[in-house]
């Protein structure tokens, strides 16, 4: 039946879509399709009526009170929970701070790197200087209360020493070679506190005497020669 091909167009038209020119022309001459279109529109109108009537409902007056009650309960609960949560958070924070402090103290008991700042007076200078290897001399400190410092691997002999408990001794100090006496004087003056510490460099000493001249590197002169003028060179385009 030739009207079947217009079924989808009729449905689209009834649903609010545009009527195609082809369909419009067909409707002018087809009573059956006009009736079909009217039926579809009536069906949709009944759908609209059902929806409008069913959705034209009012909530009960108690709904508002239910909302108020629920919100009030929520606020009371929030006020009850918040102080407890704050107290718990504060306690947790204190615990974290205490643990972190204890951990930091334990870590600071390990031997220092060369940046250590703890200085103990009266320590003996080791005579095990190794100028051949130019290893820095380590001056062990006497047992004193803890001083915080960065970690360090202590070289005693040929192997690192085990870090001592923080409560027993201070971290040890790396001393550059040849500076142990100067550092000893420096520390002694600091302990005393009455005389400004002398400069580590002796008065009148010049840096040149302390610093070995840097040998110049002799760079041999380069011999240059022009490239061979060859027609096979890839850089040259054929003339």
């Amino acid at each position: 039946m030739r009207c079947d091909r217009y079924e989808q167009d009729l449905t689209a038209g009834a649903a609010g879509g545009a009527i195609t020119p082809d369909l419009e022309a067909h409707l002018e001459g087809c009573v059956s399709c006009r009736e079909r279109l009217a039926e579809k529109r009536a069906l949709l109108e009944s759908v609209d009526q059902v929806l409008r009537m069913d959705l034209d409902v009012e909530p009960s007056p108690a709904l508002r009170n239910r909302v108020i009650t629920r919100v009030a309960e929520m606020e009371r609960e929030r006020r009850r929970i918040v102080p407890g949560v704050a107290a718990a958070a504060l306690a947790a924070g204190l615990i974290i701070v205490l643990v972190a402090g204890a951990w930091a103290r334990r870590r600071s008991s390990t031997p220092l790197e060369s940046s250590a700042v703890a200085i103990s007076p009266g320590f003996p200078v080791r005579d095990a200087v190794t100028p051949e290897t130019h290893e820095p001399l380590l001056i062990p400190s006497t047992p004193r209360p803890l001083v915080a410092a960065t970690p360090l691997v202590v070289q005693t002999g040929s192997r690192p020493a085990v870090a001592r408990p923080a409560s027993v001794r201070e971290p040890e100090v790396l001393v550059p070679p040849g500076q142990e006496a100067a550092l000893q004087r420096f520390v002694a003056v600091l302990r005393d506190g009455s005389v400004p510490p002398p400069p580590l460099l002796l008065s009148g000493a010049s840096l040149e005497s302390l610093i070995a001249p840097i040998p110049l590197i002799k760079i041999p002169a380069l011999e240059t020669k022009p490239l061979a003028d060859s027609v096979d060179s890839p850089e040259r385009s054929p003339s």
């Binding site: 949709l44 759908v47 059902v50 959705l55 709904l63 909302v67």
Partner: protein, 187 residues
């Protein structure tokens, strides 16, 4: 949001400007939220539960709402989402649907009443089968005589998009209901 919960004297929670504003906006939009929930659940008690929960959630998030002029559309979307979730949850639990309440006019005889109920049931079954984004357009356009512009504002869409979706929804409804009317089996 408020400092102290006031007794139930007719105001929401307290007399702060924020709470007063919330109450005013809720009063204006709560019926719409209820009707949107009813459009999904078609049970008055369930729709009120959803509307209540939507209002509570809106209260919680009211201070963080960037544009409070969009409170109405925001509340509608909350209610819609909660209603759909509740319906899915009930279906998963296998809760048998209670008889749907209706405000259709009472026909003069039992046969017409039965026919009316049957039509109503078919219509809502067809609406429930629509994809979600088409379904909400149908429901909103049937509530309170909303036009394209109002529906577009509630959903935050362009009018052209709403018109297109409404046309597609009505086309699908027509195909589905025509099959029912003519007796053709269609899944």
């Amino acid at each position: 949001m408020n400092e102290a919960a006031a007794p139930l004297t007719g105001r929401l929670v307290s007399d702060t400007p924020l709470d007063r504003e919330f109450e005013e906006r809720l009063t204006e939009a709560s019926t719409l939220a209820f009707r949107v929930a009813y459009g999904v659940l078609r049970q008055r008690e369930d729709a009120e539960d959803v509307a209540q929960e939507a209002a509570v959630r809106a209260y919680r998030g009211f201070t963080s709402l960037r544009n409070r002029d969009q409170f109405r559309s925001w509340l509608v979307r909350i209610a819609w989402r909660l209603a759909l979730d509740r319906r899915k949850s009930e279906r998963r639990r296998g809760v048998r649907e209670l008889k749907a309440s209706t405000t259709s006019p009472v026909p003069p005889n039992a046969e017409e009443l039965a026919a009316g109920r049957q039509t109503e049931k078919r219509v809502w079954a067809a609406v429930d089968d629509l994809p979600e984004k088409l379904r909400i357009v149908v429901v909103l356009s049937a509530i309170e005589g909303h036009g394209m512009r109002e529906v577009a504002a509630l959903l935050g869409l362009a009018e052209g998009t709403v018109k297109s979706r409404l046309h597609e929804a009505r086309r699908r409804l027509l195909e589905r209901l025509q099959c029912v009317v003519t007796g053709t089996n269609r899944t």
